[in-house]
């Protein structure tokens, strides 16, 4: 630090930063992107390994052999479901009781803020059924959960069959040390959310539900099961949860161990594991998987019912049986055996899963990138903002001193206090106005949907999305309104101060996001940083404006959608992309209200106002 408190050296350093700013910024940005792309390559990806002692050294012997039972239960369930048109609660209760569980039900209802077009629901009500296997000689202090969501459209009857058959098998064993809850939820994730809130006796999303009659202590881990078809050729594992939370890596390792043991074909993001890591092909495929995971995690939506468990610090993952028309088909017994193994190992746990990583990226099922290795990518990107801010700060303070001026002769220039204070006062108006726009973006679409439907021929859901876009676009008209307010001020210093504030604000936000949800932070940084660094009211303005619009949060979302479908090998046409974009907006708002997803408020209240500040800088006169 002595280097910086010596004024002479400080000036030399400052000159270096000022002169080399542009190349340094470019270098840093390229380094960030390059580092990220390199994450899929072997020195940075490591093999996964089991950290938890209680689950590591010994293997268990799986004995589940209830293939006929699974099919029988599934057939009966499907028949009863078809007959009643809803979840056959009475049949489930009776069946669970007959296999020896304590059975309880929970009814819930929820009025969504506006109709959900993709799932075609508005007033949602349903009943969850759960049975508790009480562990002998244990006082119900800990439990494990196996849950099967039953959506309105997806039948998932094979999964219910497997759940019941596993329950029957588990009930006959004496080695359980933790209670096991077998949960069948209706209305897929809404049911899971209702059950979890009732289990923890809180209300975070305005769900109305009946209180639970039976509990089983602190839930240690949960597995959600979805079998979309009767034939399973591979199992897909989903880890990304609400707001980008991830389960402890050991849970995934555990599942992968049993997949290997049982010879099951497991995929991650629908992609097989690359076999060959020495050539370029393997890592490239891993990079695609990694990008899919980043997009999925950045969306902040639960990628399965397990995602909602993570809020309560319950390690959870979703296992999906996929029929991808491969040659080898798996009997449900094989899946059941893998699940039995997973549960027996979890039963061995002495402590909660905590040994392994909570922050990681997965380029393949058996490879991971730890937080220490991926963070530099985001760090390099944020460094650009820091460098730019430093440059502006120096320019503001030493504006009178030309960088070429000989150092020793003249005294240092005094800080330009009057000008600076004028600059700060002029910042208040744009800051307030852009924040107000953000607030309007957050509040108005849902509040004003009824007004909109009265005056325009649109449905509620459309009204919400269109209001959202309208307010978003209206923000672009902001410079004209703020200009009048600040026209009297010194113009040159004004935009510099505004940009300085905006840069610091953006850097802070992105740093915070990157710490909790790296994917989102990185994605936003990679798109927003170049435009934010370049923007100034002189030079090729139309180019800057295009760049800014193309990197605004909404455009990032649109771009991500295209990238996502491209990586999934199902490319989108422009029109489809637009439709998907509108649906994604509606889903984003809905998920904020139904599950407490934070992406929508974050964009509306944090990043959008910040982006507006840059827009403001661009059109400064």
């Amino acid at each position: 630090m002595g280097l910086l408190s010596d004024p002479v050296r400080r000036r030399a350093l400052a000159r270096l930063v000022l002169r080399l700013n542009a190349p340094l910024c470019v270098l840093s940005y390229v380094a960030g992107i390059g580092w990220f792309l390199a994450l899929a390559f072997p020195p940075l990806t490591q093999r996964t390994y089991m950290s938890e002692n209680a689950m590591g050294s010994t293997m268990v012997e799986e004995q589940f052999a209830g293939g006929d039972r699974v099919r029988g239960f599934a057939r009966d369930f499907a028949a009863h479901r078809r007959k009643s048109g809803a979840l056959p609660v009475a049949w489930l209760e009776r069946t669970m009781r007959s296999v020896g569980l304590e059975v309880y039900t929970q009814s819930f209802s929820r009025k969504l803020p506006f109709p959900d077009e993709t799932h075609e629901r508005y007033m949602v009500s349903g009943t969850n059924v759960y049975g508790i296997l009480r562990a002998p000689r244990a006082a119900s202090t800990e439990s494990l959960v196996l849950t099967v969501p039953c959506g309105p459209d997806s039948t998932n009857s094979q999964a219910v069959g497997l759940l019941l058959a596993l329950a029957a098998h588990f009930r006959g064993q004496i080695y359980w040390a933790k209670d096991i809850i077998f949960l069948v939820t209706e209305q897929d994730l809404l049911g899971t959310e209702a059950w979890l809130e009732a289990y923890h006796d809180i209300n975070v999303t305005g769900m109305q539900s009946s209180p639970l009659q039976g509990r089983a202590g602190a839930i240690q881990a949960a597995v959600a099961l979805e079998l979309s078809s009767d034939v399973v050729t591979s199992l897909d594992v989903a880890v990304e949860g609400l707001n980008g939370q991830l389960p402890n890596l050991d849970l995934l390792n555990l599942f992968q161990t049993f997949c290997q043991k049982g010879g099951l074909l497991c995929t991650l993001q629908g992609k097989l594991q690359p076999q060959d890591w020495t050539s370029v092909d393997g890592p490239l495929q891993a990079l695609r998987t990694l990008l899919l995971m980043v997009l999925q995690q950045a969306s902040g939506r639960p990628h399965g019912p397990h995602g909602l468990f993570l809020r309560y610090r319950v390690e959870a993952l979703t296992i999906r049986g996929i029929n991808s028309f491969r040659q080898y088909k798996y009997d449900l017994v094989a899946v059941g055996k893998a699940l039995e193994g997973v549960f027996r190992k979890l039963n061995h746990l002495l402590e909660r899963l905590h040994q392994s990583f909570f922050f990681y990226l997965l380029p393949a099922l058996s490879r991971f990138v730890s937080i220490g290795l991926y963070m530099p990518a985001a760090g390099f990107l944020l460094l650009v903002l820091g460098l730019k801010a430093l440059e502006l700060w120096m320019q503001l303070h030493e504006a009178g001193v030309g960088p070429e001026e000989p150092g020793g002769a003249s005294g240092p220039s005094p800080p330009l206090l009057p000008a600076q204070s004028v600059g700060l006062a002029s910042l208040v108006a744009p800051l307030l106005i852009s924040q107000a726009m953000g607030l309007a973006l957050y509040v108005l679409p849902v509040l004003g949907q009824h007004v909109a439907t009265e005056h325009f021929p649109v449905a509620e859901a459309e009204a919400v999305v269109l209001t959202l876009l309208a307010i978003y676009a209206a923000g672009l008209a902001l410079p004209h309104s703020t200009q009048r307010v600040v026209s009297a001020q010194a113009p040159d210093r004004g935009w510099m101060a505004l940009k300085l504030v905006a840069l610091i604000y953006l850097a802070l936000q992105l740093a915070c996001i990157a710490l909790t949800n790296f994917s989102l932070g990185f994605l936003l940084a990679a798109t927003m940083v170049p435009a934010a660094a370049l923007t100034k009211p002189c030079g090729p303005r139309p180019l800057y404006a295009t760049l800014l619009v193309l990197t605004s949060p909404a455009a990032t979302l649109l771009g991500s959608l295209f990238l996502w479908r491209e990586l999934r090998e199902a490319p989108l046409s422009l029109a489809d992309g637009w439709q998907l974009f509108l649906a994604a907006l509606a889903q984003g708002v809905l998920e904020h209200h139904t599950y407490g997803a934070l992406l929508f408020p974050l964009l509306a209240l944090g990043l959008y106002p910040c982006w507006l500040l840059f827009w403001n800088v661009l059109f400064w006169k």
């Binding site: 630090m1 119900s140 240092p412």
Partner: protein
């Protein structure tokens, strides 16, 4: 001489018991009893009770002779016959009035199994009334728990001031008592304690017949721990020696309850037999016992069309009001020679007979209906998420259709959960339910736990919710257990209630009635006393990562802290280069002169 010595020994042996027996009636008696109860859920509960009654006043004799032999006063009563010496010495050494100790593995599920004869909380529980002659109760309590820890091979030495409380109303003496100054009471629960054979063996050794004869041959460890619930207890209390209560006797009651999971052990059938449960049969009574009986509950609860069939058929039946309902028991008296002599052993069997037409159907659906619900049961849980705040909730269910009854709730909460007492709310049927008695003793960090006692009236057919919020404290890093991520236990709530009976109980002779009826005193014929425990809770505290990243975090924090000062310095100070000023006064004077001369200054 060589021949005379054995002769003398023989003579002594012959004379000894005769002489003692001649002088006074037998001073101690043993009664043993086994109750087998098919539970409403289909499981089977077996409760053993062994009662040793000793007509001797351990402590009065001590008082008399204390003047004579001061140094070994606890060895005063030196001849022990049936009463275990280890416990007898404890009574006199620590001046105990009552001692109740239980070890439990599992949880009695009142909702499904009905009210218990004797429930105990999961883990270890110890409560002791000391005589009012004890001066330093806490010291005696500490020593006593350490001694018991040795006797029962249990971690009772973990009982210290942070988990000991003095309840004011919940634990009254069960035996004879003239004063109930609760400052002589201590109560502690260790919910973490794991109970296993190492605790069972010392418990069995206290029995007069050990596990050699009588009912105790059934106590085979590998079967007893193959159950859903296992609870063993020792109760010591003074009782009246005769009906007029002129002098006192000491009663040692050893109880052991187990619940067999019919589903696992019976392969889905409810039928049971002694052999299937204990892998032993009864062959003889304990020769030292004055009474040795097996009771089988044959009141048919449920089961349309199904009838119970017990084999061999009982010689007598016993009908009485137990836990508020009329029960019929088949009685097998092992001292009655006919019971065992017929087949050399007694293997009790119980079969559920159903009409042949519906038999197969019923077998499969035996468990398909929810069992009847008891009048009082409870549930306890922690609510909320995150590691900052939380809420402790206790749900008390009164399912009686029209009668309200009071419940005494005792909560002991460790100090590291800081209770917010102002958030204590008790609601029933949507209204606030004010407790008629509240005793709250706040916790002191690292010294004593919270104690909360309340008397709550439960309205009929209602669920009463008692909730209180808490904040999790940060422990010092050496205070964490070796497995901090497992969570920290909070001991269960204790509910003591007078539950209304369905059938009014008749007053009976206390000494003559079966043992399972005579632990709790009966005060009123229209209700019965029951003590229930809720499940213990597991609460996660904010825990540092005790692994390598923790060191990394510490290191990083140090570096950041060092950097912070410098950066702050840089940001808040401005730096100017000061030209070295030489001369000072001389220069000033020179300049003054120069100005006067009209020459430019230096």
């Amino acid at each position: 001489m060589a021949a005379a010595l054995p002769l003398a020994v023989l003579l002594l042996l012959l004379l000894g018991p005769v002489g003692g027996g001649h002088a006074e009636p037998p001073r101690d008696t043993l009664r043993e009893e086994l109750v087998i109860t098919p539970l409403p859920s289909g499981d089977v509960a077996a409760t053993f009770q062994f009662r040793t009654r000793w007509d001797s006043d351990l402590q009065r004799e001590e008082g008399e002779r204390i003047t004579l032999e001061k140094d070994n006063c606890h060895l005063l009563v030196s001849h022990y016959r049936l009463f275990p010496k280890a416990l007898g010495q404890l009574i006199s050494k620590y001046s105990l009035r009552e001692l109740h100790l239980s070890f439990t593995q599992g949880f009695w599920r009142t909702r499904y199994w009905g009210p218990p004869f004797l429930q105990a909380p999961s883990g270890a529980e110890l409560w002791v009334w000391f005589q009012d002659t004890v001066t330093d109760v806490d010291k005696s309590w500490k020593e006593l728990s350490n001694v018991l820890s040795g006797i029962f091979c249990a971690s009772l030495n973990f009982i210290d001031s942070t988990n000991t409380v003095t309840p004011t109303a919940s634990f009254k003496p069960l035996g004879l008592a003239n004063g109930t100054d609760h400052s002589f009471l201590r109560y502690a629960v260790l919910p973490r304690e794991v109970v296993c054979t190492e605790n069972l063996t010392p418990w069995k050794k206290l029995l007069p017949c050990s596990s050699k004869a009588g009912l105790s041959v059934l106590l085979k460890a590998d079967r007893l721990f193959h159950t859903s619930y296992h609870s063993q207890a020792v109760h010591i209390r003074p009782v009246c020696r005769n009906t007029r209560c002129t002098s006192i006797s000491w009663e040692l009651r050893q109880t052991l309850s187990v619940v067999y999971d019919a589903f696992v052990t019976g392969q889905g059938k409810k039928d049971w037999s002694l052999f299937r449960m204990f892998s032993r049969t009864l062959t003889e009574p304990c020769p030292l016992a004055s009474e040795s009986r097996v009771y089988v509950d044959i009141t048919s609860y449920h089961q349309d069309n199904e009838t119970l069939e017990v084999s061999p058929p009982p010689t007598t039946t016993y009908q009485d009001v137990t836990l508020g309902t009329l029960k019929t028991y088949a009685v097998y008296d092992l001292l009655d020679t006919a019971v065992i002599n017929n087949s050399r052993n007694l293997n009790l069997q119980l079969k559920w007979k159903s009409p042949p037409a519906t038999g197969a159907l019923n077998r499969g659906l035996v468990f398909a209906e929810a069992p009847p619900v008891p009048f009082l049961y409870a549930q306890r849980y922690v609510s909320g998420y995150g590691l900052h705040n939380g809420e402790l909730n206790t749900l008390l269910y009164n399912t009686h259709p029209y009668r309200a009854f009071p419940v005494l709730v005792l909560d002991t909460v460790p100090w590291y959960l800081r209770l917010y007492v102002h958030t204590l709310t008790i609601t029933a049927k949507g209204k606030e339910n004010k407790p008629s008695y509240v005793h709250y003793q706040p916790a002191q960090d690292r010294l004593q736990p919270h104690l909360l006692e309340m008397l709550i009236q439960l309205p009929p057919n209602s669920a009463t919710k008692v909730s209180i919020q808490f904040e999790r404290a940060l422990l010092k890093w050496t205070e964490y257990t070796p497995d901090p991520n497992h969570g920290f236990y909070v001991s269960p709530s204790v509910l003591s209630a007078l539950v209304p009976s369905v059938v009014a109980a008749k007053p009976v002779d206390w000494e003559e009635s079966p043992l399972f009826k005579s632990l709790y005193p009966v005060s009123d014929s229209s209700s019965y006393f029951v003590r229930l425990y809720t499940e213990p809770l597991l609460v996660n505290l904010p825990t540092p990562d005790f692994s390598m990243p923790y060191n990394v975090i510490c290191l990083t924090c140090t570096v950041v802290a060092v950097c912070y000062g410098s950066f702050y310095n840089l940001l808040t100070r401005t730096f100017h280069i000061e030209e070295p000023s030489t001369g000072g006064l001389a220069k000033w004077l020179a300049n003054l002169i120069r100005r006067a001369r009209g020459v430019p200054p230096l």
